[in-house]
């Protein structure tokens, strides 16, 4: 089943410096259960594309559907959870109260709410931290809490916009492992924006390579790696081969002399 389907999608921002062509002729289908990474230099439209799926930006041409609906209808039905680059936890709420925010807005009953909070907290390994305030947690833990929040209302689609971009590499490795485990356990469809090649290759079943001016898709790579991926897989020749192809794709689409 197709979860996201984009057909010759176009988006042009009108800015003071003239129009910016953020997305040009993007065609992409994301199937149920896929883990799709979007990789490319800044300005390639990867975040914009995610925001179009989430109905946070409006396309200026082409068509896109989410779960067979318009993005707006999908958003109204709370079809996806969104994780931003910054954890964006509300500082005056404890972690469990932060996770409760979407549930409160959606009118979930108290018993169901508690059950879900407990459930997602253990999914991200924060079971004992529900009563803590965000400032009492490290950056990596805060980002895990924000993932738990996006999972709380059990949408089938998870949109993640460079969620680990601000974290150091050791924490990032650990979180990557956790995300994979989570994906495996929940069987969700994940769209993941990153600018790290190893991260994209390690996580994804498909890698979408993008390039800027105008933002466009230059390569789509189906990963031959198995679903089960220990960290060591990153030293295998297959992994390196995919990483190489991604790097080539990035290089081809982007002149660094500009």
């Amino acid at each position: 089943m197709t979860v996201v389907s984009a057909d010759s999608l176009d988006l042009t921002f009108q800015t003071n410096d003239g129009p910016v062509h953020a997305l040009s002729n993007v065609n992409l289908d994301v199937a149920q259960g896929d883990f799709v990474s979007f990789i490319g230099p800044s300005g390639c439209g990867k975040t914009t594309f995610l925001r179009v799926i989430a109905d946070l930006e409006q396309p200026t041409g082409g068509s896109i559907s989410v779960n067979g609906m318009t993005p707006q209808e999908a958003r109204m039905q709370r079809a996806y959870g969104y994780v931003f680059q910054a954890a964006s936890l509300l500082p005056w709420r404890t972690i469990e109260k932060n996770i409760a925010v979407p549930l409160e807005i959606m009118g979930t009953s108290a018993a169901e709410k508690n059950k879900r909070i407990e459930n997602v907290l253990s999914l991200v390994d924060l079971a004992n931290f529900g009563k803590k305030y965000p400032w009492q947690l490290s950056g990596g833990m805060q980002q895990r809490a924000s993932i738990a929040r996006a999972l709380a209302f059990d949408a089938d689609l998870l949109l993640m916009d460079e969620p680990f971009g601000a974290l150091d590499e050791i924490v990032r490795d650990h979180l990557n492992e956790q995300v994979l485990k989570l994906w495996d356990q929940t069987n969700k469809t994940i769209c993941f924006v990153t600018h790290s090649i190893p991260e994209a290759v390690y996580l994804s079943t498909r890698i979408v390579v993008m390039s800027p001016r105008p933002g466009r898709v230059t390569d789509i790579i189906e990963s031959p790696l198995p679903r089960e991926r220990p960290l060591e897989i990153r030293e295998s020749s297959e992994f390196l081969k995919i990483a190489h192809r991604v790097r080539e794709g990035l290089r081809a689409g982007h002149s660094y002399d500009e």
């Binding site: 946070l56 709370r78 931003f84 910054a86 500082p91 005056w92 807005i105």
Partner: protein
């Protein structure tokens, strides 16, 4: 306690400044009150008194140009502790008159300020039309407006506490509007986007995001608002021939040359303002604590 304050390094600087002020004050007392003593001696055909005699006399005049600190504090003691608080000569009585108008005006001003800010943030038409008028309102001197408010309301049959309170309101709503507009707009783009992804209604965004985000801005504004509320209440008492209140004391003092009375009312007003600002500060800290703020972030 004392030790802790010393460690924070605030006590010594504050006391030093205070000591300097007191010294300058006493020097000014001698300098400003001496001409009167010399005139007095001349008129009576006596010799001009010697320096130490002169200094003593300048500090014990009945209507000095500048009263000495101990005279002011003796007057405050006399009119607060030694007088019954129901007496028309009690400074506590007059303070209460002013304080009640201050508090009522502050409450109305805060409510009005918050209501306007909510409107400005949520309604495009209000955003464009109200703010310029809010700013214009503060460019009109309060001394020009105050008598008119009193007169107009009097003609409408409203007198007593409310007209004075409204002058306080006129001053105090302003910082609340400005602060709250900023506070309600303080949530970042990703917090607002997050609410949008949940398909949250405007009222949900308000109560779950905008209102809690605005708390630090609200209390900062309230500290300014409560202090100028007091100014408003005093100003409201002055041009209207009020018979009670700190403003009335100031006015009566200046009619009859009772400088000591003026200064003691002045000190009382300053103390009142300090207490009010401190109370708002305590409320601020209590709210931040309830909101789970990092301890060191609470000043």
């Amino acid at each position: 306690m004392m030790n802790k304050m010393m460690k924070k390094g605030k006590t010594i600087p504050v006391l030093t400044v205070l000591a300097v002020i007191v010294v300058i004050w006493y020097a000014s007392v001698v300098w400003m009150n001496a001409p009167f003593e010399r005139d007095q001696a001349e008129r009576l055909g006596k010799e001009t008194p010697g320096f130490s005699e002169l200094v003593n006399r300048t500090m014990a005049q009945e209507r000095p140009v500048l009263p000495a600190p101990h005279q002011v504090f003796a007057e405050i003691y006399k009119t607060t502790v030694e007088k019954k608080i129901t007496s028309k000569r009690s400074l506590v009585y007059h303070s209460w008159i002013t304080l009640s108008a201050t508090l009522l005006g502050f409450l109305i001003g805060t409510a009005l300020g918050i209501a306007l800010a909510v409107g400005i943030v949520h309604n495009q038409a209000m955003n464009k039309s109200v703010m310029p008028w809010v700013i214009t309102s503060q460019t009109i001197p309060i001394l020009a407006i105050a008598p008119m408010i009193i007169v107009v309301l009097n003609a409408a049959g409203i007198s007593g506490l409310l007209p004075k309170a409204l002058i306080s309101t006129y001053l105090s709503f302003f910082p609340v509007v400005v602060g709250m507009v900023k506070g309600l707009r303080s949530p970042g783009r990703s917090e607002m986007d997050l609410m949008r992804t949940y398909n949250a209604s405007r009222s949900q965004v308000f109560w779950k995001l905008r209102w809690p985000s605005s708390m630090p801005y609200l209390f900062t504004s309230l500290k300014v608002a409560v202090a100028i509320s007091l100014v408003g209440a005093i100003v409201g008492e002055m041009p209207t021939g009020a018979v009670a209140g700190l403003g009335a004391r100031l006015l009566a003092g200046s009619y009859y040359g009772q400088t000591i009375q003026i200064w003691s009312a002045l000190f009382m007003a300053a103390a009142l303002a300090a207490i009010l600002v401190m109370l708002v500060g305590f409320a601020h800290n209590a709210v931040l604590k309830r909101m789970g703020q990092k301890p060191e972030a609470i000043a």
